[in-house]
Amino acid sequence: SQTIHQWPATLVQPVGSPLSLECTVEGTSNPNLYWYRQAAGRGLQLLFYSVGIGQISSEVPQNLSASRPQDRQFILSSKKLLLSDSGFYLCAWSFLGQPQHFGDGTRLSIL
């Protein structure tokens, strides 16, 4: 069966520090991968998506970046975090016409 791992569950970082969130999928090949961010009380904002290794589409211009170094690995990074980067980050995988499968999420607080 397919599983998705996302870590860490919570993270507290100072402003200006770097960030690396990792997401891995097991049990499937060549899935579409997604990073979403959800601010408190708000909707799910699509940040990046990838339809294959090395293929990254960015939806929101910001200080975040994403990479897909392996088929089932998706990494969200930042060189310098801003206060506005706080939120609930969700990784997901799917195929066209099939449900999105979410990780448990990372709650990121910037101090």
Binding site: Y49, F88, Q98
Partner: protein, 111 residues
């Protein structure tokens, strides 16, 4: 552009019905519906792939009008467990792999 959801919020008494709408300005390949409880990842409810298709899950059902690029979610005889935020998500025919959520509809069911 993300799909547009309405209403933003609805308060129901147990046993009452509600309709949540989702519309897109672009042609859609699929519409998904999810429910999210506070602090958790969204839970998949159903997916609609064909124009005019209706699907049901317990007393929650949905329709998809492909020509109008609209979908509606129907909460029938609501239960306390239906409380949460409902999101529609869409895959467009012109953006392979891109998946976007609406802003969400907060549903509160009271005894």
């Amino acid at each position: 552009q993300q799909p547009v959801q309405s209403p933003q919020a609805v308060i129901l008494r147990e046993g009452e019905d509600a309709v949540i709408n989702c519309s897109s300005s672009k042609a859609l390949y699929s519409v998904h519906w999810y429910r999210q409880k506070h602090g958790e990842a969204p839970i998949f409810l159903m997916i609609l792939l064909k124009g005019g298709e209706q699907k049901g899950h317990d007393k929650i059902s949905a329709s998809f009008n492909e020509k109008k690029q609209q979908s509606s979610l129907y909460l029938t005889a609501s239960q306390l467990s239906y409380s949460g935020t409902y999101f529609c998500g869409t895959e467009r025919t012109d953006s392979w792999g891109k998946f976007q959520f609406g802003a969400g509809t907060q549903v509160v069911v009271t005894p």
